[in-house]
Amino acid sequence: MKKNKAMYTLQQDVKIPDIVETKASQTFARIQREARTGNEKIIVYDKKIRSPKKKYAVLAMIAVLAVGTVSVYAAYINWSQGLKEELQITQEQQESLQENGMAAFADTSVTDAGITVSAQQSITDNYYTYLSFKVEGYHLEDGKQPDFENVFVTVDGKEDFNSGSSFYNGIIAGNDGMGVYADGSALETRADGSTIQHYVMDDGSMEYHMVLAKSDEKGYFIGKKLHVEFKNLGTVAKAEYFPDITGKWDLDMTLGGADTSTIIQTDEKIGDTGRTLTSVELSPVSIRVSYDADQEAQVEEVPMPTGLVLKDGTKLEGVYGGPGSSGMDGSKYICTYAFERVIDPDQVAAVLIPKNLEGSAEGQDTDYYQVAIQ
């Protein structure tokens, strides 16, 4: 198609699909309704960021909240079961993350409408922070997907980072990058073809996990104050949020974190691509790689490493957990992303870079460049 016609087409107004318009209209109607009835839970303006009322030393956190009953305890070490499973953290890795300061723990909770939300812990490196919150008291029907209606996060009062969050569903990445249950068993499906997900833990609670990302400012999250607001709890299906519990749970915590990354300078050519891997920055939870590119290759994007090879020969093909970012920065091409599991940086022997930028065809093994780094 003509270049100009394509741009012209993209710039034209489109018909907003009915499903989008309907859901937006419902949201506006709700805002109008609640604003006019003066519901304090919706309207909060000129809200000042609250400072923690109390501070606890050592490994964490805490401070307090807005609505409902508040319980504040001295912090103690309490690993999130869901985070241990999702990031496949071994006992040894737990101890290491505690020792090096990346893992920080909280034990503050808020109860509203019979639901208790507790801040559990964070794992923080130079570019990412993983967060875990325990949710107790909610009865989730079988086959339903839980969700908060709204989640708002600031770090030191600012929102200039990227984020992703959801309830932990008991599914983790296998070594081949495909999903399996936390006990390693294959995923099961219902009669309708949907995957069976396990949101409710053995103790009846659920966990809500977040990843915050800021790859253009090293150390952004370390030691910073986090403020999280959860609002209303229900279930989601397709385009609909189904409200169930009306409540608000606000929590403040101070992130831990440490610069524990290992930076490996290397000069490894990537096959015949004309690109050279120049450095790999590895932390237990993320990777940042830098490439040189010759003049011709500079405008081409380089596929990011999606896997690792360990010194014992283990191949981890799908370690990308996200969020991630990549692209040219001066004469270098930089890729940064969070892992889907915790790794031991000193056990990494090589990175795996897919040969095909678009990925492999369905059902076919991925062909990689294996680039040794240590």
Binding site: M1, K3, A6, M7, T9, L10, V14, K15, I16, P17, I19, V20, K23, A24, Q26, T27, F28, I31, Q32, V44, Y45, D46, D147, N150, F152, E159, D160, N162, S163, G164, S165, S166, A173, M178, G179, L187, T195, K214, S215, V236, K238, A239, Y241, V299, E301, T306, G318, Y320, G322, P323, G324, S325, S326, G327, M328, D329, G330, P354, E358, G359
Partner: protein, 169 residues
């Protein structure tokens, strides 16, 4: 728009509704550049509307409203991807290969979908919504060089497609 933003900040739901409705085209196009299904786009936009309503008070300057709102929208889109992810992803923004078979907007949708996924959002933000490179860089947590190179690649991709079209004819 600044006056609408300021009225909305003062808690006027009508001003807020008018403000967000004026952004529906921008929100839809940006969300659609990330998400392939209108169901997911609907969720992301609805979540964005709520988040904007609740936290508009934290916006310091009305002039930054669009950048602020778009950043929230992008994060909500990524949340949708994360919620829907049953297996690992191979790219930053996975392509599920599920395409809605609707006739409305078909030319627009086909034009957008003709770009590789990784160029779509920057192309929409720059050429359609008119954001500057440094604004896009901040919104996407992406180096400015990357934004520029993706725009360049997107333009080259268009030029190559046009060349192929002409050769095919």
């Amino acid at each position: 728009m600044n006056e609408l933003v300021n009225q909305a900040k003062r808690g006027d739901p009508d001003a807020f509704t008018e403000l967000m409705r004026s952004q529906m085209q921008n929100m839809y196009k940006a969300a659609r550049a990330i998400l392939n299904r209108d169901e997911d786009v609907a969720d992301a936009i609805s979540d964005t509307i709520l988040a904007c309503w609740e936290h508009l008070g934290s916006l310091k300057q009305a002039g930054y409203f669009r950048t602020w709102m778009t950043r929230i929208l992008i994060n909500k889109c990524y949340e949708q991807i994360r919620k829907n992810k049953p297996v690992s992803v191979q790219d930053q923004v996975p392509d599920y290969g599920y395409w809605e078979n609707k006739y409305e907007n078909i030319e627009w949708t086909q034009t957008l979908d003709s770009f590789p996924q990784r160029y779509r959002l920057v192309m929409i933000l720059y050429y359609v919504e008119g954001f500057k490179i440094n604004e896009i860089s901040k919104m996407l947590d992406m180096p400015k060089g990357t934004v520029k190179s993706r725009l360049a690649r997107g333009r080259e991709y268009l030029a190559d497609s046009f060349k192929l079209c002409r050769e095919g004819n």
